[in-house]
């Protein structure tokens, strides 16, 4: 099979001169999105974005540049810009590009839905119409559907470097979301739901629409509750967001730079003894999976916390070399426009063996948190402070009795982790810059501030 993109990447890497090393990362996507409002297409976007990012390593200096101009002149300018940028960087002996492995990494399965490229645009539009319809039809109290969106992307990714590394893969992604506005007796609440898969046939507009509606309807009539300390249950969605905050503190780089609440805690018990936190860059069907990472290093499974003990951080090449170890395949990029940096791939707590119903029952009287508000400002992975707004339900004997809004929940993040008593088996993947597996999670105790 000819691979024009890989040839392009190889051509760029081949421009290395003298003792410098050159790495090229090239992507070509076919993207589609349709947004429906009141049964009609509100907007539809189709595109074929493409571009290249280049790193030049000269002695111990690295520089980065990107371009969308893939003409010969454009690429000449690209390599020159990266080379010039390298001269302004502070030397770091740990800087290096990936070595080609003796064996190419095994391709992983479940990255591509072969049926997806031939799905017709009209079927995608019909999907979004059905999604909006299902949201609207769920209940007469659904006053409006603010957004109903279907989106997909087929991407071709190639990497090559002047040390001889070369690889490419294709992946397909399809996702959808719906935003329901529920209203009753002058109260308005928003319900958001989404799903993602490799192809449209694995998505169900009826289920997503209904769930969006239910999430809005469920918190109608919500009010504050008196301030108290009580058990808190994170829904899969909020549990995934919490892992997202933890994840940024779990990279080797964050730790080396003193930018992590986990610094100096390897070997320490940071969670209850039955808890395991695993990063798996090859998890089948998970959004963050790939055969190799953004530097071309094969992905792997890394036990971050095992039996409650912090075992390992997540590394890209440079952060690993700072500690004389090997990359864990955790380099990520947000596209060809960004240089690689360390990030979790698919990070999730292992389930502790109970169902969601069992976890809720065990919680007894607790706050079930459906949505966080203000996570990006209220959660600090350096200090470990966690104080965010919450919407959800007050549980009595595990049953929702009162919808709750405008409360703040707070506890130091390590206390939250140590307080995790159960992780249900209802894991779902949430793509929050890296992917995070959220499941219904019981935390023994947090401060709930109402008024």
């Amino acid at each position: 099979m000819s691979d024009d993109l890989l040839d392009l990447a190889l051509g760029i890497a081949g421009r290395a001169s003298g003792s410098e090393a050159v790495e090229s990362f090239v992507t070509h996507e076919r993207d589609f999105q349709v947004k429906v409002y009141e049964g009609e297409v509100e907007s539809l976007t189709s595109a074929e974005p493409r571009g290249a990012g280049v790193r030049v390593v000269s002695k111990a200096n690295v520089g980065f540049a990107f371009t969308t101009d893939l003409s010969d002149d454009g690429i000449t300018a690209l390599v020159k810009a990266a080379r010039d940028n390298a001269t302004h960087a502070t030397p770091d002996e740990a800087v290096a590009l990936a070595e080609p492995s003796d064996e190419p990494p095994a391709q992983i399965t479940g990255l591509f839905d072969d049926a997806q490229p031939s799905v017709l645009p009209e079927d995608k539009v019909a999907f979004a119409v059905a999604l909006e319809g299902a949201t609207r039809a769920a209940d007469t109290r659904i006053r409006n559907v603010e957004e109903a969106v279907y989106s997909d992307s087929i991407s071709h990714v190639a990497i090559a470097n002047s040390a001889g590394l070369a690889g490419s893969y294709k992946r397909s992604d399809a996702w959808c979301y719906s935003v329901a506005i529920a209203e009753e007796d002058g109260d308005t609440q928003i319900g958001f739901e989404f799903d993602l898969a490799r192809g449209i046939t694995s998505l169900d507009p009826g289920t997503v629409g209904l769930r969006a509606a239910e999430r809005g309807l469920g918190v109608l009539g919500a009010r504050k509750i008196p301030s108290a300390r009580m058990p808190v249950v994170f829904d899969p969605y909020t549990a995934g967001q919490f892992l997202g905050v933890l994840g940024s503190a779990l990279t080797g780089e964050a730790v080396q730079k003193g930018r992590s609440l986990f610094a100096g805690r390897i070997g320490e018990e940071v969670a209850t003894s039955n808890l395991a936190l695993v990063d798996d860059g090859r998890a089948e069907g998970a959004p963050g999976s790939a055969p190799w990472d953004a530097e071309g290093v094969p992905t792997q499974r890394t036990e971050v916390i095992k039996d409650g003990v912090l075992r390992s951080f997540l590394y890209d090449i440079v952060s690993a070399r700072h500690e004389g170890r090997r990359s864990t395949g955790n380099a990520a990029r947000s596209g060809f426009k960004s240089a690689p940096g360390p990030s979790p791939s698919n990070l999730a707590l292992d389930p502790t063996g109970e169902s969601r119903e069992e976890v809720l029952r065990r919680a007894g009287r607790a706050l079930l948190v459906q949505d966080f508000h203000g996570v990006h400002s209220g959660a600090n992975s350096v200090t470990g402070d966690f104080s965010v707004g919450a919407t959800g339900h007050l549980l009595e004997n595990g049953e929702p009795t009162q919808a709750v809004k405008e409360v703040t929940i707070a506890a130091p993040m390590l206390d939250i982790l140590r307080g995790i008593e159960a992780v249900a088996g209802d894991r779902r993947w949430l793509p929050f810059g890296g992917s995070f597996g959220g499941a219904t999670t019981l935390i023994a105790n947090m401060t709930v501030a109402g008024g």
């Binding site: 409002y37 009609e40 297409v41 509100e42 907007s43 539809l44 976007t45 189709s46 595109a47 074929e48 974005p49 571009g51 520089g63 980065f64 540049a65 990107f66 969308t68 101009d69 893939l70 810009a81 010039d84 940028n85 390298a86 302004h88 960087a89 502070t90 645009p121 409006n144 603010e146 506005i181 308005t188 609440q189 928003i190 504050k224 301030s227 108290a228 730079k257 003193g258 930018r259 426009k337 240089a339 508000h373 203000g374 990006h376 400002s377 209220g378 600090n380 350096v382 200090t383 402070d385 104080s387 965010v388 707004g389 809004k405 405008e406 703040t408 707070a410 506890a411 401060t447 501030a449």
Partner: protein
């Protein structure tokens, strides 16, 4: 960027049969340097060129974009946009009229004329100054970025507009530690203009300001939770207006009745001291534009006039839907996005009060010096903001810093709670996210007293 002949051919291929077409062309050159741990770690530059064709019929839009700007690729893009809508493509001819000159935001020192060595030296100066603030300073990340974005917008209605935007931002983040306590400080001035930003905000001053905040916050005690009077510091408090009022007055939310302010024009929400504007023409401000990303000239729009709701923000589509002229608030992150309604520079205008008198009027309350960011549900107006730097006010004076504090409430509620507005107006630059698109925005306000708000904290 493209010849008028090419533009006309592309528009003619896209428009017609009841559909109008718009071509958006962008050439963006960017430079970014980052110093971390006293080392210049990232030096990056980018060339991002693309063009998109939007075909519009009634309330429906189809969009396609490409990174290849040949006539052939642009015509393919026009056909793809047309196909998405199922109409267009029979327009006979397009006349183009160049729009009048947009607001020009002066650029005295074009960043492309400043060497990377100078930019790296500025990072070094900020790093040195931050570390000189105290032994408690453990981490300093300084970053410099400049962007020059040239855009061209042409439509089958005959509009031809161009804008040439240069923005520079300098940011310093500091982590301080003492006896196991960790605190952070951040400062990040930016503007629409050139490298002269660093004359107005010398790198060393930005560094020491961020470091001083971090060191001060080491003394922070856990925030109490409950209902308190809240004093907002000049500048940073403006994010509250942005989140709690601005988003709800974006006309796309109003049209869909997804806003707490829908159908409430003319209603009083606050006292006479509450006048709020969005001003995309504010000379040199970070969120300013010459024309917006649909070619509408930047303007100043009054949202609340002495407490009464009088205005909204719109792009072309929502303006048509709402039956008012567009306000110049159609913005897009890049050619890869459809324009949506966005704020530019949103200000609570200064009032007559004395900031010291405001503080002295508070028996026990919270002084919110810097918000870490926030979010709001436009449908309900509910918001939550984290406070990056906050203090207790006791008996009319600031006593000690507090940590883990959040402000929780509702947009209309906060407008009603504004009891006093001082004259010490200041601006803070930020990046606003909406529908997955980022936009540079400025928030501005003076010292403001909120009579009573819910504060979230760790002390129940």
């Amino acid at each position: 960027m493209l010849t008028e002949e090419v533009i006309k051919k592309v528009l003619a291929a896209a428009a017609g049969n009841g559909a109008t077409a718009e071509l958006f062309v962008e050439d963006r050159r960017s430079t970014a340097l980052r110093m971390d741990d006293s080392r210049v770690e990232d030096v990056a530059s980018g060339v991002d060129i693309g063009a998109g064709v939007r075909v519009v019929s009634g309330d429906r839009a189809s969009y396609a974009y490409t990174n290849v700007l040949t006539l052939e690729a642009l015509l393919d893009t026009a056909r793809a946009a047309r196909a998405g809508l199922g109409r267009g493509g029979e327009q006979a001819a397009v006349d183009l009229r160049r729009a009048g000159s947009p607001v020009k935001h002066p650029v005295r020192l074009p960043p492309e004329n400043i060497g990377a060595d100078d930019k790296a030296a500025a990072l070094r100066a900020a790093d040195d100054a931050a570390r000189a603030t105290g032994a408690e300073v453990r981490q300093v990340v300084a970053s410099y970025s400049d962007v020059r974005q040239k855009i061209l917008i042409a439509s089958s209605d005959g509009l031809l507009a161009e804008d040439d935007r240069t923005r520079v931002r300098f940011a310093v983040q500091v982590v301080a530690a003492r006896d196991g306590d960790i605190a952070t400080g951040f400062d990040a001035p930016g503007h629409s203009g050139g490298y002269e930003l660093l004359e107005k905000f010398p790198a060393a001053e930005v560094g020491s300001k961020a470091a001083a905040k971090a060191v001060r916050m080491l003394e922070a005690r856990p925030s109490p939770a409950g209902q308190f009077p809240v004093v907002l510091a000049p500048g940073s408090g403006g994010v509250l207006i942005h989140e709690a009022c601005g988003h709800g007055l974006e006309a796309d939310a109003l049209v869909k009745h997804a806003s707490v302010y829908a159908d409430r024009r003319g209603e009083r929400f606050g006292s006479d001291s509450v006048t709020i504007v969005d001003d995309g023409a504010d000379l040199g401000a970070w969120g300013s534009v010459g024309v917006d990303d649909e070619g509408t000239p930047a303007q100043r729009t009054v949202l609340f006039d002495r407490g009464v709701l009088v205005g909204h923000l719109s792009d072309l589509r929502s303006a048509r839907q709402i039956g008012h002229p567009p306000t110049g608030n159609g913005r897009r992150q890049s050619y890869a996005y459809l324009p949506i309604v966005r704020m530019t520079n949103t200000y609570l205008l200064p009032g007559p009060d004395d900031p010291d008198a405001i503080l002295e009027s508070v028996e026990r309350g919270v002084y919110a010096a810097t918000f870490a960011g926030g979010e709001v549900n436009p449908a309900t107006g509910n918001f939550v903001f984290g406070m990056a730097e906050a203090y207790m006010i006791e008996n009319g004076a600031i006593t000690h810093p507090i940590k883990g504090a959040t402000l929780i409430g509702n947009g209309p509620e906060v407008l009603g709670a504004i009891d006093a507005v001082a004259a010490d107006f200041d601006r803070k630059e930020g990046v606003c996210g909406k529908d997955g698109q980022a936009a540079p925005v400025t928030n501005g306000m003076s010292t403001v007293l909120l009579a009573r708000m819910t504060v979230g904290g760790t002390e129940a």
